[in-house]
Assembly symmetry: D2
Homo-oligomer: 226 residues x 4
């Protein structure tokens, strides 16, 4: 079973122009460079159509941004786990607040991913949902209050009680699940606050992708873990 | 603006094991080979994660199986048209009965695809819906009665009135739209019947992908157009 | 077959507090009163749970705000056309921008409603979609640019070209369909502009429901038709 | 806070002809009669459009089959909790396998229902999902393996390990949640098996509604609890 090295920075490429196609490749290479320089684990989550290209050229973990709760068969337009795996993804991000899933779908995907030896990082919008997802046994859960996503106001500083509450609830329900946090993370201080609250890493997007200098932004985040 | 050469066979790879990853690549090469040998236009629609790999190695048109009605931005897990285009797709299949869309989404995607010079092939489930989609001005419409999809019973022979009705309704609403048909197509006879009913090509999947010998199946379909 | 008298004001109750439960009943009685006083046809679209109560006590047409594309059977939580009909609805509003539908669902619902002798009023978000829906043959289409809904800026004054374009496109595709318009309608002037552009009525919600005095607001709208 | 008396039989009316409109009313009266005769608690879940009519004429608890995760406002076609409550529902059935919900929606609905003093009965499709939903703190959870729903093969006899597993997992995650079971329940023996496995009641539909004699079927189920 593949395991991600902790602590970890997971960079969600979303569907920004700055992280699509050739730009996705460049950004992934920047992530790889910073990961090597700092020794901090960085995983990238490019769009499905970019997974093959990115994973063929970088040596850091690549996650899919979403998969559908399907098995091989007649599912036109579906995102099949086996397909993103063969394209080079070693794990999957699921239930992001921009692509939420039904509870039975989350359960299916987590079980199925485990059979395929793929890592699962499930997002939750609050403490309760973090606990509920923990019962479904993903590898990691990132709590992200939707109102802070893309806001530049970090969850670890603006809503520390949500992070602490998540860490504690997950521990009670299923201590094998690794807690992360996200939403508004953009600086090394945000990262330090997140670690202090008990998380093992951060999930972010615009804080790096929309930064004037993504490489600089990413380096300062990574250095906060060292 | 990119134009597909007519008549055309569009092979929908769905999410079958036989058309995922390396198998997708092999199947696309078979399609290319048959297209060269017979001179008949063949387009392939692999899974999103396979578009880059397939389009990098074959010279025939590649379509995405689905795109989301989104523009670049914060759309985690979304399938962005710009991304599949940069990965090598020259067109998109939309509203397949396994991935149906809202009417306003179909409208958005068709307009947006045109701005990006991508070809649109919209599926419809019956005569009425074919006419409705024609008003939205896609490049092509493939009528596919859902109950015949994957059945091995071809629409062109079992429900010729649906094909004829579609051809006529499309012509009345928007004569610039090219009619295709699909569902159950697996033999050269099915193709000949489809052409006789006024379509300019066929959309199919299992008839080739699940055939004992896909190359043989595809050749007999292509030769029926010559 | 039930027919609505034209011109018509259709009041969508949405899920506002002011139009829920007992408030829905009071509002429907106000609509009935104004309709009698002015002679102008007014239909109300209360929430599903209020249809029976409202239709039992008022004599004006009652529409459901939505129905699901289902037939009697095992559809827990579904909104069945036969059920809203027996509860007293004589028609249905479908594809409102707050409850959009797939194109095949719109087609199914319109056909099924006709079998049940229920009137269909389908919403569209722009000219193209109006034309597409016209091909599906509903009784009425109300064009409502989503960005103007609830804005207080009326479509008939701010985007007259959308109304005119819809009227013309519907006429070309299917002249038996009656064009209405909606979004931002709140005054008699908005109504007069709508009529002048070729529509046979208006669909509105907050312009009356959120008015300081809904009765006064409704009367001034109705009088604009006389 | 409203509390349902245990043990309980919850009869889901779905959208069957036999439980729509006037038939819903008759069936609810039969349920009331059997409940009085046997002293066993029976709750009914009619379609949304029938809630007012049913709750106005019977004295047993009425549940909605579904509500949307919304608050009062502009939600055309939405099923508002305040509206079904005012229509007479004292609780809600959610996440039935025929109307599944996103995990964040289940969380929202349960919290919101508690504020409105409405009872929540959430359905789950397996042991894992039962545990996950328990973390969201509904009043009751009914585990229903989808493949047995409507099958006539009862979960309590065909898959006792799913019922026991659910009872145990719920107890570990949140002992205040009451476990029920459903799917295929049609006889008194099925009920006795369900009770023996640790549940406090059953959720069923076709076993009564599609029975030759619903009253007889219901009586034998109720008597099994006594």
């Amino acid at each position: 079973m593949f395991k991600l090295k902790l602590p970890i920075i997971v960079l969600n490429f979303k569907t920004y122009v700055e992280s699509t196609g050739l730009n996705a490749l460049k950004l992934a290479k920047t992530c790889e460079k910073i990961s090597r320089e700092t020794g901090v684990s960085i995983a990238v989550a490019p769009q499905t159509a970019d997974i093959y290209r990115v994973s063929s050229e970088v040596g850091i973990p690549v996650l899919a941004q979403h998969v559908d709760p399907i098995q091989p068969g007649a599912n036109t337009g579906g995102t099949l786990m086996e397909c993103v795996k063969e394209a080079g993804a070693s794990g999957i991000l699921i239930n992001h607040s921009e692509k939420t899933l039904k509870i039975s779908e989350i359960d299916f995907i987590i079980s199925y991913a485990r059979q395929l030896s793929m890592v699962t990082l499930a997002c939750s919008n609050n403490i309760n949902v973090s606990g509920a997802i923990a019962a479904l046994n993903p590898d990691m859960i990132a709590v992200e209050p939707p109102e802070l996503i893309g806001s530049g106001i970090s969850v670890s500083k603006a809503k520390p009680e949500v992070v602490t509450g998540t860490v504690n609830f997950i521990k009670r329900i299923n201590p094998s699940v690794i807690p992360l946090c996200g939403a508004g993370i953009s600086s090394g201080e945000d990262v330090k606050a997140a670690v202090k609250l008990g998380t093992k890493g951060v999930l972010l997007a615009s804080g790096v992708i929309k930064a004037k200098n993504p490489e600089t932004a990413l380096r300062s985040l990574a250095e906060a873990f060292t």
